[in-house]
Every structure is written in structure tokens, then in C-alpha cells.
């Protein structure tokens, strides 16, 4: 039976989401408990799977029992095992932390919210776990469609932002599908490992190149790589808090995972780096993305919006780091996927906590929040320091690898962009901190006599746990790298690039 543990990661959230959407019509109160149980089971099984991967190597799970090129199979190695844990952790923490927020934001439909929540998580985990390029598309759409719905439920501009996200997301996914079609025409297969085995043997006619570019552009759209990022800030700013803090940390990161997976494990480094010869161009684009993201963040006057632009810059970190093409850069990119997800979660949860008490995230209204909500703000500062890259928070360690990757590759513009963006992040966050810390709490600012006080415990504890994880992940960065990231990368690159 233990061989079925990987299946639990997907099957349990899926089944429970269906049960939840049934229960939504019978007893709404059951929904949260069921969702919580499902996430716990998924989280535990993700950790068990990680253990098995470390002990026994790659796990291949044959769906419906069919052998790979004919049936769909899962391919679980170090890389996706750790991303699975990441997704489960973020979703679990966020589920607990946003319980009261969700109850307020979706007062008459929490059941359907939790169903969509679980389906979104299922979709992301399915994307990560699968070894089939078409199945990846289907799950991509699962995650995207539930994401559009979750994001579009906010008030005001949410629907319009979500709709434009839907347009760009659909173009992105369709371009990916188109690229997969080219691959299918050239190889006749949809299984990643099978394609990887066939590709080097076939004659190059430009079809592969075009498929590569199509997939890449599609994924760039999905991951909000500058200048294809335009959907992201609006979508995340106007979204309900309980869904923003789930979707913001995960979507872009999972898309970067897909990019790395496709490039390393389908097209393979020899083709992607040596033959295509676009790596330097992409790193330059990443440099622009980092700088532009940071500068645009500076212009914002709302917390969530600023965070959204920081995500744009962070995407540049990871894409650039990966396309540096050396071990240090890739290590940095992979590590930063993990770290950035946790940092973003921490910051969005902290922003959510503040919004739940202050009612807005405009900078002007944050006066005195340090005195009123000290613990939430400690967590916020921890997240901020991690984004800035101050040791011993985890952000420092991935930045270290990224910078050393840039130096090894001789790409000093990328190094400079990272440093500049770190410095800009200092300015960005201390601007917020200054407002919260120096300006006295002004009760005139807060209408209807709202008493601003510390966030409730069920919100605060997960937030502080996340903040603590940032530091723990910092101390265990080396363990992560030697046990998980290094094997993941060397599996694809056969030990060297």
C-alpha cells in the first residue's frame, strides 16, 4: 500500500474538494474542517514522498497502471517533491490563517470557496507531480480557472483585473499547448522522459526551436515575467485577502518550476543552452525585470500593490538565475522558489492581518500599527528582511547563490541588478516601517471608531510560524541545497553543465 502514498497527494484534496462542494449544499460548517483534514493529509504524504525520494530515488507512479509513453505517469524526483511540500505547506498555513478572513469575505458561500481552494491546490500539485506535457496543461487550467474565480471575487476592480488575467493567462496556456503540439508532431509522444529520449535522435528542422520558444513565451506570460507581467499587480491587489495570500506565493513560483522542468527535463540543457543560445538574452530580460519591478514597486502607495510589484522583480531573480546556466545560478533559482514562496506568504499574511484591523492597506492609514499590532509587524519585518536578503533569513542564502552564479557566469549586470534591487527593497520596506513606527496612531484616520488591535490568534500564530520558518529555512539552507537542490539539478545536468 505504501506505493500508493504519492497518489494521496492529489487524490485526497481532489476527493475532499468534491465532498466539500457537496457539503456546501448540506452543511456549510463541515467544509472548513474537511478542507483542513485534506490539506493535512496531503502535507503529510508530501513529506513521506520526499523521504522515499531521498532514500530510494525517483518514484514513477503509473496512472491506471499503464507504462509511461502510453499512459500518464508521474515522475517524482527531489525537485518536485520539495515543491510539493512547499505547496502543501503554504496552502495549509494559509488555510488556517485566513479562516476568519474567508468567513467574512465569503459570508454566504464559504463552502464553494473551500472547494475552489482545494481544487486550486490540487491543480498546482498536479502540475508539479506530472510527467506528461499535456496533463500539465490540463492541470494548469484547473489551477488557473479556480485562481480566476478566487481572485475575481473581490470588490471593485477585482473582476476586471481577474478578467484581464484570464485573457493573458489563456493566451499563455494556449501558447504552451501550441508548443506542446509542435513537440507532439516532431516526436509523437507526450511523456516528458520519452520526449527527452527522442529529441536528440531526430533531425533538427526548426520545429523543435519554435516549440521551445512557444512554450517559453507561454510560461513567461503565466509567471508574469516582465514585460508580460501586466496582469499580476491588479489581480493580486484587488483580490480578496484570503485568496491573494494563497495565489500570490504559489502561482508564479510553480510556473517557474514548470519552466525549469521543461527546459531541463524535456528539451535538456544541451539544446536549451547550447543550441538555442538565448540564455544571455533572457538573463538581460531578467535584469530589466528586476530593475523595472523594483522601480514600479517604489511608485505604489498601497501595501499589497507594492508586494505585487516585488513579486515581478523576484520572478526576474529566479528566471535570470536559472538562465545563467551554471550550478550556482540554478541552485539559487530553485532555492529562491522555496524561499520566495514563504516570504511572499509571510508578507501577504501580514498585510492581510493589518487589513483585517485597519480596513485598508493604503500607506497613509498604517500610522502607528507597530504599537497597535506589534507581533504582526514583527512578522512583517521578518518577511521584509528576507526579501531584502538580510542573514540569517532565508532570502539571503538564495541571493548568495544567485549572485555567485552571476559572478561565475561573468554576467555582472545581473549581479548589479540583484544588489540594486536589494537596496531598493530596503527603501521600500523601511518606508512602510517608518510610517508604522514613527507616526503616532491617529484615531481620526479610522472611521466608524474601529478599534485597531492585534490580529486574532488564529491569524497571528500561523503568521509567526511563517516568519519563524523564514529563519529556520535560512539555517537549513545548506541542508536543503545538499540534500535536495543539488540532486535535483545534477539529475538533469548529469553532474555538470
Amino acid at each position: 500500500m505504501t506505493s500508493q502514498i504519492p497518489a494521496l497527494i492529489i487524490v485526497v484534496p481532489l476527493l475532499v474538494s468534491l465532498v466539500v462542494s457537496l457539503a456546501a449544499w448540506i452543511r456549510q460548517s463541515l467544509c472548513y474542517a474537511a478542507a483542513l483534514c485534506a490539506m493535512l493529509v496531503a502535507w503529510i504524504s508530501a513529506i513521506l514522498v520526499m523521504g522515499r525520494v531521498i532514500n530510494q530515488g525517483v518514484i514513477t507512479y503509473r496512472m491506471a497502471g499503464w507504462a509511461p509513453p502510453w499512459g500518464i505517469s508521474w515522475h517524482i524526483d527531489h525537485f518536485n517533491a520539495i515543491i510539493l511540500i512547499l505547496i502543501a505547506t503554504v496552502a495549509l498555513i494559509n488555510l488556517i490563517a485566513t479562516r476568519s478572513t474567508a468567513a467574512r469575505e465569503f459570508e454566504d458561500r464559504p463552502g464553494v470557496f473551500y472547494a475552489l481552494y482545494l481544487l486550486f491546490v490540487t491543480g498546482l500539485m498536479g502540475i508539479v507531480i506530472t510527467g506528461d506535457i499535456f496533463n500539465l496543461y490540463v492541470l494548469l487550467e484547473i489551477a488557473s480557472l479556480s485562481g480566476y474565480a478566487l481572485l475575481g471575487m473581490g470588490s471593485g476592480r477585482a473582476a476586471v483585473s481577474s478578467l484581464s488575467y484570464l485573457f493573458i493567462g489563456t493566451i499563455g496556456a494556449s501558447l504552451y499547448l501550441f508548443g506542446a503540439g509542435y513537440l507532439y508532431i516532431a516526436t509523437g509522444s507526450l511523456n516528458m522522459a520519452d520526449i527527452a529520449a527522442i529529441l536528440p535522435t531526430i533531425e533538427q528542422t526548426g520545429v523543435i526551436q519554435v516549440s521551445f520558444i512557444l512554450c517559453l513565451i507561454g510560461l513567461f506570460m503565466k509567471m508574469a515575467f516582465f514585460p508580460l507581467h501586466t496582469w499580476l499587480p491588479n489581480a493580486y491587489t484587488h483580490a480578496p485577502n484570503s485568496s491573494a495570500s494563497l495565489i500570490a506565493p504559489l502561482t508564479t513560483k510553480v510556473m517557474i518550476y514548470v519552466m525549469i522542468r521543461i527546459v531541463l527535463f524535456v528539451y535538456q540543457p544541451e539544446f536549451a543552452f547550447a543550441e538555442m543560445d538565448i540564455d544571455r538574452v533572457i538573463v538581460w530580460l531578467a535584469v530589466i525585470a528586476i530593475l523595472a519591478g523594483s522601480m514600479l514597486a517604489w511608485k505604489q502607495e498601497r501595501l499589497k500593490r507594492m508586494l505585487a510589484y516585488i513579486i515581478v522583480a523576484e520572478v526576474g531573480y529566479m528566471v535570470g538565475g536559472f538562465w545563467l546556466g551554471n550550478t550556482a545560478g540554478m541552485t539559487g533559482a530553485v532555492l529562491h522558489i522555496l524561499n520566495d514562496a514563504m516570504m511572499t506568504l509571510c508578507l501577504f499574511l501580514a498585510a492581510g492581518a493589518v487589513i483585517s484591523r485597519v480596513q485598508t492597506d493604503a500607506f497613509g492609514a498604517l500610522q502607528g500599527v507597530f504599537t497597535k499590532m506589534p507581533f504582526s509587524m514583527i512578522a512583517f519585518v521578518a518577511g521584509a528582511l528576507s526579501i531584502i536578503g538580510v542573514p540569517p533569513t532565508c532570502g539571503f542564502f538564495s541571493k548568495w547563490y544567485l549572485i555567485s552564479g552571476g559572478m561565475e557566469a561573468g554576467h555582472y549586470a545581473f549581479v548589479a541588478a540583484l544588489i540594486i534591487s536589494s537596496l531598493v527593497n530596503v527603501l521600500l520596506f523601511f518606508r512602510v516601517i517608518e510610517i508604522g513606527y514613527f507616526e503616532p496612531f491617529d484615531s481620526h484616520h479610522h472611521k466608524n471608531g474601529q478599534t485597531v488591535r492585534e490580529a486574532p490568534l488564529d491569524m497571528l500564530v500561523p503568521l509567526l510560524v511563517t516568519a519563524g520558518l523564514l529563519i529556520v529555512m535560512g539555517f537549513y539552507a545548506n541542508t536543503l541545497v545538499t540534500w535536495i537542490v543539488k540532486p535535483a539539478i545534477s539529475a538533469a545536468t548529469m553532474g555538470g553543465l
Binding site: L385, I388, G389, V390, P391, P392, F397, W400, I403, S404, M407, E408, V415, I419, S422, L423, V426, F430, E434, Y437, F438, F475, Y476, A477, N478, T479, V481, T482
Partner: protein
């Protein structure tokens, strides 16, 4: 030399962090302050207990966690680090006492936050002193920067805000913008970042990149206050005086100097610097700062600002000592860390006591103050003598060795700089004393008699002044440590 694995350094670092939860939960000020005291005493006790082992030629090591391939988060106690840690932890005890008097005397707000971050800053300082490699040092350095930010901006007013900005701009800008890339580059070149006698870069790098890295590091560790990255220090004087006293005369600035010292001796190494002729370059940088800051200090009326500029100059003495790369020069530099610390903290304590008792900040208002507050101004006089470098104070000893160092290194220009600077030091300190004791106060100034500051504020400066004098006659503890450290650096 035997490397002993011991958890003592770790405990020494963690003691002050461990006390923070107690501080937060303690409702009564008395309990809180008792715990601060206890932590300070324990910390000093642990650090002092390491002295015999170090003097016996051992080093204490403790690896906390591996961070990157070839670099661990690792503590290592050697003579130089211990010297610095001794000074910092001893002065924390004194400052704790002083803090109580000062904070109560002025009835400051948010005292819990103040004591917590103070404790955290001390942890970071000791961490820097005991770092075994550049990365560990960097981690503690950043921790120190961030834990002092709330202390610098304690008053939470407009002035504190702009000072805080300046502070962050220089400190974080330097550490992220310059130190971090330089450190990574060194790691890529040398394969590790361990502090090793003779340096780790020798032979693997050309002159030009080496110069670039050296400058990035020297200016990047902007806590050392080398001109032109010194501007944060005068700005940081808006902090409560105990903060200025311990952190901006001892812990923070000395951490900067200590880092630069380590870079010079243990990353680049004397041999390499001599080869490329960088010693002169560093000497010139230090000399410019020494003279420049002394000249600026002359024109400052605010006492704390004048002290700040004086500090900037004195810090560069230490860097000068390191840059001389000779036996006596280095020993003088190390000794100066201790001697200057005791002298300067006395001066700051006195400035604070004057603030508490008379509410005076500016020198021009201090006419005749010596008659009203004889003890305070007496201590001030002793401190000033020590900083100027006159006997019978400890400062004389360190300057003496520095001077010998310049002769050994045949840098006679630097000798002249030292002498000129001493004159300037005298020129900006002695008038204060003169004015306090020998000028008659203006009619309106002291309408009612000013009493001495309360005992908590008075005892610490007297104690540190006394120690300054004692150190002149009995410098052995620090002297032996510095000799040991220098012999390791130059003998290695």
C-alpha cells in the same frame, strides 16, 4: 595552538538573546533591570573565563551550522576577538547601570523595547568578535545594524526618523551594496571565507581586483566611520545617551573597525598588502579621516556631536595601526580599541549626566558647570586626557605603540599625522574642561544650583574614568592579548 571545541562562545553570544523573552514578559521595571544586569554579568563572566585558555595559546571553536560548501556558521575565539569581547561585555555592565539612571531620570518611553534591543545588539557585537569567518561576521554585523535601528530612532520623532534613514542608508547600503558582492567574489576566488593568519587571498588575485575588493570592504563596513562614509555617526547621536555611549563609542563603531582589521589581517594578509603596496593606501585613507574629523570636531558646539567626530578620528587610529602592518602598530591599534573605549564611554556618560542633571547639550552653555558638577566634570577631564593620549591614562599607552609602529614601518608622515591629531584632540577637548572649571557662568544661566546627576548616572563615569587611569599602570590583560594576537598574525 590547539583548537578546543567549546560551547562557551555560543553561550556568550546567546545569553543576552535568551534574556529578551524575560524582559518582554517582566511587568515591573525593577525585575526587568535586574535581569539585564544578570545577563550582563553572566556574559562578562563567561567571556572572562575564556581568558586563561586563550592566553595559554588555545583557540575555542564552535560550529553552529554549515551554511555553504566550505563555510559554516562558526564561532572561534582568538586573542583579538576576546580582547574586543572583554571590553564590550564589561562596558555593558557599566552601561546597564547607567541606562537605569538615565532612562528613569528622563522618564523615557518604551523602556522594554529599549532594553530588548540593547541586549540583542550586545549579542551581535559579541558574535562579531567571535566570528570564525567573514560570513559569520557579516551575519552578526547585519544583526547589529538592525537591532540598533530602533535604538537610534528611539525618540520616534522627526529628527530620529531622518537620522534613522541616514543610518540605514550608510550602514545597509555599505553592507549590501559593497560588502556582500565583495564577499561573494572572495568566496569564489578563495573557496572559503575563513579568517586565517596571513590571509586567504594571497597569490590568487591580481593587484587591481584586490584593490577593488579591499576598497569595497573597507568602505562597505561603514560602521568603521571612515570618511566619506562617516556621516551616519553624528546623525545617530539623536539616540539616548547610553546608546551613544556603548554602541556609538564602543560596540557598533568598534565592530566596524574590528571587521576592517580582520579583513586586513586575516583575509588579505599582511604579506599580500605589502606586496601590492596597499599599506600606504590604507594609511592615507586613515590619515585623511583622522585629520579631517578632528578639524570638523573643533567646530561642533553640540557636545555629543563633537564626541562623535572625535570618535570618527579615533577609529581611524585603529585602522592606521592595522595598516602599518608592524608589530607595535598592530598591537597599538588593538590596544586602542580598549583604551579608547574606556575613555570615550566616560565622556559620553558625562555628557549624558549633564543632560540629565542640567539639561544642557551645547558646549557654549557649559561655562562654570565644573563648579556645580565637580565629579562629573572631573571624570570628563580624565576621559578627555585618555582620548588625547596623555599620561596617566590608558590612551597614552596605545598611542605610544602606534607611534612606535609608524617608526617601525618608516611611515614618518603618519607619525606627524598622529602628533598633529593629538594636538587637535587637545584643542577640542581641553577648552570644554577649561570653560567648565575656570569661566564664570553667565548671570542668567544657573539661577538655581544644579545638583550632580543621580547616583546611577554618576557612578559609571567615575568607574570608567578610574579604570582608564588604572589601565595606564596596569595594561597587562589587554596588552598580553594584543601581543598574542599580533604574534599570530605576523608570525603566521
Amino acid at each position: 595552538m590547539i583548537a578546543v571545541v567549546s560551547a562557551k562562545p555560543l553561550i556568550a553570544v546567546l545569553v543576552s538573546l535568551a534574556v529578551i523573552p524575560v524582559l518582554i514578559s517582566a511587568r515591573k521595571p525593577n525585575v526587568r533591570e535586574t535581569w539585564t544586569f544578570a545577563a550582563a554579568l553572566i556574559k562578562f563572566g563567561i567571556i572572562a573565563s575564556m581568558v586563561p585558555a586563550i592566553l595559554a595559546g588555545h583557540t575555542l571553536e564552535f560550529t553552529i551550522a554549515p551554511l555553504f560548501a566550505g563555510i559554516a556558521f562558526k564561532l572561534k575565539v582568538d586573542a583579538f576577538g576576546l580582547l574586543f569581547a572583554l571590553v564590550a561585555s564589561f562596558l555593558w555592565i557599566v552601561t546597564s547601570a547607567y541606562s537605569i539612571g538615565y532612562m528613569r531620570g528622563l522618564d523615557e518611553h518604551s523602556q522594554t523595547r529599549y532594553f530588548c534591543f540593547f541586549a540583542a545588539a550586545l549579542s551581535a557585537t559579541i558574535g562579531v568578535a567571535f566570528s570564525a569567518n567573514l560570513l559569520t561576521l557579516y551575519i552578526f554585523y547585519e544583526m547589529l545594524s538592525l537591532s540598533t535601528y530602533p535604538l537610534v530612532t528611539h525618540h520616534q520623532d522627526r529628527e530620529a526618523r531622518s537620522s534613522g534613514r541616514k543610518y540605514l542608508f550608510y550602514i545597509m547600503g555599505g553592507s549590501i551594496g559593497l560588502v556582500l558582492p565583495a564577499m561573494i567574489a572572495i568566496y569564489l576566488i578563495a573557496g572559503n571565507l575563513d579568517f586565517a593568519a596571513g590571509g586567504i587571498l594571497a597569490g590568487s588575485i591580481g593587484a587591481l581586483p584586490a584593490a577593488a575588493l579591499l576598497l569595497m570592504l573597507v568602505f562597505g563596513f561603514s560602521k568603521a566611520g571612515i570618511m566619506p562614509v562617516h556621516a551616519w555617526l553624528p546623525a545617530a547621536m539623536v539616540a539616548p545617551t547610553p546608546v551613544s555611549a556603548l554602541l556609538h563609542a564602543v560596540a557598533v563603531v568598534k565592530v566596524g573597525v574590528f571587521s576592517v582589521f580582520r579583513i586586513i589581517t586575516d583575509i588579505f594578509g599582511p604579506g599580500m598588502l605589502l606586496n601590492f603596496g596597499f599599506d600606504t593606501l590604507l594609511c592615507i585613507i586613515a590619515a585623511v579621516t583622522i585629520l579631517g574629523s578632528s578639524l570638523i570636531a573643533l567646530s561642533q558646539d553640540n557636545l555629543k556631536r563633537r564626541l562623535a567626530f572625535s570618535t570618527i578620528g579615533q577609529l581611524s587610529y585603529i585602522i592606521l595601526g592595522a595598516a602599518l602592518l608592524t608589530q607595535s602598530g598592530m598591537a597599538g591599534g588593538m590596544l586602542h580599541i580598549a583604551m579608547h573605549a574606556f575613555g570615550k564611554i566616560t565622556l559620553f556618560f558625562c555628557a549624558g549626566a549633564i543632560m540629565v542633571a542640567a539639561g544642557i547639550k551645547n558646549i557654549s552653555e557649559m561655562k562654570g558647570l565644573g563648579l556645580q558638577m565637580p565629579v562629573t566634570m572631573g571624570a570628563f577631564f580624565v576621559g578627555a586626557l585618555s582620548v588625547i593620549g596623555l599620561p596617566p591614562c590608558g590612551g597614552f599607552i596605545s598611542k605610544w605603540y602606534l607611534a612606535i609602529g609608524t617608526i617601525e614601518a618608516e611611515q614618518f608622515l603618519m607619525l606627524a599625522v598622529l602628533l598633529a591629531s593629538s594636538l587637535l584632540n587637545a584643542a577640542y577637548f581641553l577648552p570644554i574642561v577649561y570653560r567648565a572649571f575656570f569661566c564664570n557662568p553667565d548671570e542668567t544661566m544657573f539661577e538655581h544650583r544644579i545638583k550632580e546627576a543621580p547616583g546611577w548616572c554618576l557612578a559609571p563615569p567615575v568607574a570608567t574614568a578610574a579604570i582608564s587611569v588604572i589601565l595606564f599602570f596596569y595594561p597587562q590583560p589587554f596588552f598580553n592579548l594584543s601581543q598574542l594576537a599580533v604574534s599570530r598574525i605576523l608570525g603566521g
